[in-house]
């Protein structure tokens, strides 16, 4: 699910809705992302249409932890429904969002 670490960034590509059924795997995948070596961490949510409240908490926790470790945490490829959820919870106040992975990489490596 993550790309190789030859790049200066690490991408977690998550391609299904996050519910109670797969929340533990989502938590584990985010932990791996934060522990990875690169200082640019990208969460690609293409094809995700729903995130439950626990998933939102984990994403916030990852963003806060990344900041503590001087890493950039970026989210990209949001479906309209998920973009709306993030807007409601106002995560744009502390997380950077981009439409495409290319834009996220460009921002991260700038």
């Amino acid at each position: 699910m993550t790309e190789g670490n030859r790049t200066p960034y690490e991408v977690l590509g998550w391609v299904e809705d996050v519910t109670i059924k797969n929340i533990d795997l989502f938590r584990h995948s985010l932990s791996q992302l934060i522990e990875s070596e690169p200082s640019i961490l990208i969460l690609d949510l293409e094809k995700v249409n729903y995130l439950n409240s626990s998933a939102l908490g984990m994403i916030a926790q990852t963003a806060i932890e990344a900041r503590k470790r001087n890493k950039k945490f970026i989210i990209c490829n949001l479906e309209e429904t998920v973009e709306e959820i993030f807007r409601v919870v106002k995560f744009e106040k502390f997380i950077s969002f981009f439409k495409t992975k290319a834009e996220a990489v460009d921002y991260g490596t700038r």
């Binding site: 409240s53 626990s54 908490g57 984990m58 916030a60 429904t81 919870v89 995560f91 106040k93 502390f94």
Partner: protein, 368 residues
């Protein structure tokens, strides 16, 4: 050949030592073999049951139709899985979780039935106790719901539909003085017992926080501090809640609010204009020192507002944008209704039953 022998030996070891009860019967329903766990669970020794029909374990708790269904399922699908009450040698009933599969020996053409089962009686008792505890917690939660306010200048009432037995939604309102009221709606992350415990803990603090600090930024700052103190400082999981807090001044027709990552409040003012109450901060408990903005809305002659938790959007299978448009229309079309009739209308005709998340709706009717 060596591999076959060692594999056979291993299979025998597994059969003898596995913690689940094991029973093999032939096509005439005669028991051919059982393992040690069978004896431990049922009390019958191997010698006592070999050649017997499994009905020696029958408890009499199930009718003939139940057993016919088992045989039909095995006949049609080759397997049956489910719960069954059986009787031990000492006459004690116990509940077992059992799977039965039919296996055909290709060489001899003979058919066998293999049953694997565990005793789940204690687990079932625990589940029943848990259900009783949840019902008690639900009663407690309901007892904390505030009484409706129905006055000339302000009416406030609410309804709550949990998705499970209990959940993390919570609302409260408090008169501050003759003209001012503090109103809050909170949705704790997650659902079930943990969310409910957190919301009840917050509920215990709210009266003090709101009546002492009154002003939206001060209330939300304190709520954030308390949430982090109670649940985030010593836990690996980041607990948070979304919330919207309003301070309504009925003498000025003025509403100050802070929205902490919560679905927008939908406000119809006296000029038929609908405003979304979205300004504020990130959810409560996420950050130690969040930036907080408040906004002020006014109503001239009258106003009506709906606050809600996102379970309503989930149950409607809608987006927030579409949902807000729909609620705005409902507010406009039913503005002539009295407060109580309007809330009844919402419950009967507008709000769907919850699916994956609780639904709370708080309605305010304001007159200047």
């Amino acid at each position: 050949m060596e591999l076959d022998n060692s594999y056979l030996k291993l299979s025998k070891e597994i059969f003898a030592n596995i913690l689940e009860g094991f029973m093999i019967t032939d096509n005439h329903h005669r028991i051919l073999d059982v393992n040690a766990s069978f004896t431990r669970i049922t009390g019958f020794s191997r010698e006592e049951v070999i050649g017997e029909n499994p009905r020696i374990l029958k408890s009499g708790q199930h009718g003939p139709e139940f057993y016919k269904n088992i045989l039909r399922s095995i006949g049609e699908d080759g397997k049956w899985v489910g719960e069954i009450w059986n009787c031990k040698k000492n006459g004690e009933f116990y509940l077992q979780w059992q799977s039965i599969v039919s296996i055909k020996d290709e060489q001899s053409g003979k058919k066998y039935f293999v049953s694997v089962f565990t005793d789940i009686t204690e687990q079932k008792k625990y589940e029943h106790q848990l259900v009783k505890d949840l019902q008690l917690a639900k009663t407690l939660q309901e007892s904390l719901a505030p009484q409706a306010i129905l006055e000339d200048k302000i009416s406030i009432s609410a309804f709550y539909w949990p998705s499970r037995d209990i959940g993390g939604d919570m609302y409260a309102w408090f008169p501050i003085d003759q003209n001012r009221y503090g109103v809050i709606l909170v949705d704790v992350m997650g659902s079930g017992v943990s969310a409910s415990l957190i919301s009840m803990s917050l509920r215990a603090l709210l009266r003090g926080i709101i009546t002492r600090l009154v002003e939206p930024i001060a209330v939300m700052t304190e709520l954030n501090i308390q949430m982090r103190r109670m649940f985030s400082s010593s836990s690996p999981i980041l607990y948070y809640c979304t919330a919207i807090y309003l301070l309504v001044d009925t003498s000025q027709g003025r509403i100050e609010y802070v929205n902490a990552g919560h679905p927008a409040g939908i406000f119809l003012n006296g000029n038929e204009e609908v405003h979304l109450l979205e300004q504020g901060m990130v959810p409560v408990g996420l950050m130690s020192d969040p930036e907080i903005e408040k906004e002020v809305q006014f109503y001239e002659q009258a106003g009506r507002m709906i606050l809600y938790t996102d379970g309503w959007v989930d149950s409607a299978g809608s987006t927030f944008k579409v949902h807000h448009e729909r609620i705005a229309q409902v507010l406009r079309e039913n503005n002539h209704l009295s407060h109580e009739t309007f809330v009844e209308f919402l419950q009967k005709n507008v709000v769907n039953r919850p699916t994956i998340d609780d639904i709370s709706v708080v309605a305010l009717t304001l007159k200047l």
